[in-house]
């Protein structure tokens, strides 16, 4: 178990290093941080001093090591655009994005998995066909357009839900939450649905495909031949086997939620990290972009790790692979 976790973490390190290298390359070679930070008036001596301070006169690997050292401590320098520490900016925005992503993931999983199971089991019913048509439309609808349509219907025409912002938030230490107020919860609905819909359709199609695959296997036929009740066959044997591959891909899809949060946050003017990032891309604010990139990479690595761990618990074959192999073939 521990060996498994350690081996997975070791595998993640090169990925993180590669992403760090890209971030660093952006940081060090894109744009000219020195002139940006100095502004208009400066002397050559000031310039040299700043270059020394920033360590830009050091060899590449020393600079890279320093960058990683700083990154590990959450130190990414100042935003060019806002002249505030990047870490502070991100910490301020993170709760908004994480709460949104959490709700969207909940929508995607809690609705997508049952819909996928249903369409897999009853693939010729009219409801299944309706779900499938819906999913194809869902895959073809861009996230921002879904957001706009929802705003048009529920904010502009019906006036039921707010169209932008987080509503009232409550400060819990450094974390600001929208879960504790009515307006905060109402504000979460449209963005969560917008963000979750695409993943929902993907997860549904994935679960359905996997379910159909599993239902064709010999062990399902054998379970039926043993006279097990449909319930046990479908929701015990079939569903459990379906979830093994679904966990992996669904995990990666949920990672996509963080990325698509950029779009959703723009549509709903949601004060999260995605909005910060898109504003930084527009203004070529490299430190924020670099930090965001690293953070996203970290999120993906963590998701992968969690997915692998889940896999480990669900699939006994994997456990055997890491323990001593018992029995032969």
């Amino acid at each position: 178990m521990l060996a498994f976790v350690i081996s997975r973490i070791l595998q993640a390190i090169p990925v993180m290093l590669a992403v760090a290298l890209i971030s660093f390359a952006m940081f060090a070679y894109v744009g000219d941080p020195v002139s940006i930070m100095l502004g208009q008036d400066f002397t050559e001596a000031q310039r040299q001093a700043l270059i020394r301070d920033l360590g830009l006169d050091q060899p590449f690997f020393v600079q890279f090591a320093t960058f990683i050292g700083n990154a590990v401590q959450g130190e990414f320098g100042l935003s060019y655009r806002l002249s505030r520490p990047v870490a502070e900016l991100i910490a301020e925005r993170a709760p908004a994005t994480l709460e949104l992503a959490f709700c969207a993931a909940a929508v995607a999983l809690l609705v997508g998995v049952p819909m996928g199971v249903y369409t897999g089991l009853y693939r010729n019913s009219w409801l299944s066909r309706a779900f499938l048509t819906f999913s194809l439309v869902g895959v073809s609808l861009p996230t921002f357009l879904i957001g706009i349509l929802l705003i048009l219907i529920f904010s502009v025409w019906l006036g039921w839900l707010p169209s932008f912002g987080r509503g009232d938030t409550v400060q819990l230490g450094w974390w600001s939450t929208g879960f504790l107020t009515v307006s905060g919860l109402k504000a979460l609905i449209l963005p969560s649905v917008t963000l979750g819909l695409f993943q929902l359709t993907l997860i549904m199609r994935l679960v359905r495909a996997e379910m159909l695959e599993v239902l064709r296997t010999d062990y399902i036929k054998f379970a039926r031949a043993r006279g097990l009740a449909n319930r046990a066959v479908h929701f015990g044997h079939a569903l459990k086997n379906t979830l093994v591959p679904v966990i992996t891909i669904a995990g990666l899809q949920l990672g996509g939620i963080i990325a698509f949060a950029i779009v959703t946050e723009t549509v709903f003017q949601w004060p999260g990290m995605g909005l910060l990032f898109i504003q930084s891309v527009g203004a070529a604010d490299i430190p924020v972009m670099a930090a965001y990139l690293l953070l996203i990479a970290l999120v993906f690595v963590v998701i992968n790790l969690v997915v692998d761990l889940l896999y480990y618990f669900v699939d006994p074959r994997l456990r055997a692979g890491f323990g001593a192999a018992r029995g032969g073939h």
Partner: protein
């Protein structure tokens, strides 16, 4: 003794876009309690299909279009799914071909045994587990008390097939439908599995329908044999008669394709040609295009099973009403 299973004129059809295919046509046989009926034939002859029809698990869109199946005198081919489900496992056990794919990889063998028994028998968790261990011992799994909590992948292929046998027998059905139970196994293991099946069937008095294309297994195990060709039964009779002196020209060819172990032969005398596709079964006897003894009537009328003295064969050669042809012409190769 009354037959435990009676199949009467069974017809299975597959509606497809290009018309309805008849996969089984007029299949009739019965199995007495404790009897082993071997079913042989080439791939696609309808052997497995017959088994699937009996356990009520034909792959859609396949369906029983005619005839009847009786278990202990009760019709089971028209039962609603739920009633048929209660019969599967409880009264008819099934064994599939490939033990590597038949067991659910995510459940321990003990759990699979327990859930099967508890579906059909009123057993407490503790009793079911004890019985599960008992069954694993009975099918020859060493250290059954520990292995009961192992997952399928922790067993070898032969051991897994023993587990499958335990699963098929654990609710003590009166009939087992075994579909190619040894085909996927190493030759060295095949004999052990067959011996196990034979011993358990005898001990429990279980009847068995043993589907295989391996004539060696049949000769070893079966009491009677049915030879299938193109969805029909070509010949049926006691195993010694069918193997030693087959009457239907197809059976003759099939038996002669078994290489004799005791002498070297230069060439196996197989049968010319191939079995027709289901969409192109010829009129009359389905075997007529390949038959060395074909005559006019074979191309027009379909033969029913006709008493030949030792076996019953669907062949006009044995019909006294046929234009007199010499049955002696059929040589056992």
């Amino acid at each position: 003794m009354a037959a435990i299973l009676e199949v009467r004129d069974l017809r299975v059809e597959f509606p497809t876009r290009r018309g309805t295919l008849t996969a089984l046509d007029g299949v009739s046989f019965d199995i007495a309690p404790g009897e082993v009926l071997g079913v042989v034939g080439e791939s696609g002859a309808g052997k497995s299909m017959t088994g699937a029809a009996i356990i009520g698990l034909l792959e859609p869109p396949g369906r029983i279009a005619g005839g009847e199946i009786l278990l202990n005198g009760k019709r089971i081919d028209r039962l609603p799914y739920e009633q048929m489900r209660r019969i599967r496992g409880k009264e008819i056990g099934a064994i599939f071909q490939d033990p590597l794919t038949t067991l659910n990889p995510l459940y321990t063998v003990g759990r699979q045994l327990v859930e099967t028994m508890q579906t059909h028998l009123p057993l407490s968790d503790r009793d079911a587990r004890q019985r599960a261990i008992g069954w694993l011992e009975m099918v020859g799994i060493p250290a059954a008390a520990q292995r009961v909590d192992s997952y399928p992948h922790e067993f070898s292929g032969g051991m897994r097939q023993r587990v499958v046998i335990a699963l098929a027998l654990c609710a003590e059905p009166a009939l087992i439908v075994a579909d190619e139970p040894t085909t996927a196994l190493d030759v060295s293991i095949q004999a052990q599995i067959i011996a196990l099946l034979k011993r358990l069937a005898r001990e429990k008095g279980t009847a068995m329908m043993l589907v295989t294309h391996d004539m060696g297994v049949i000769a070893e195990t079966a009491d009677r044999v049915a030879v299938m060709y193109a969805g029909r039964i070509a010949e049926i009779g006691p195993v010694r008669s069918v193997v030693k002196s087959p009457k239907h020209p197809y059976s003759v060819g099939l038996m002669s394709s078994i290489p004799p172990l005791d002498r070297r032969v230069a060439q196996l005398s197989g049968i010319e040609g191939a079995m027709p596709r289901l969409s192109a079964i010829p009129q009359g006897c389905a075997f007529n295009p390949r038959c060395p003894h074909v005559f006019a009537r074979c191309r027009q009328d379909r033969p029913e099973l006709i008493e030949t003295g030792t076996t019953r064969a669907a062949c006009w050669l044995y019909d006294p009403a046929s234009e007199k042809r010499a049955p002696e012409a059929v040589q056992h190769g």
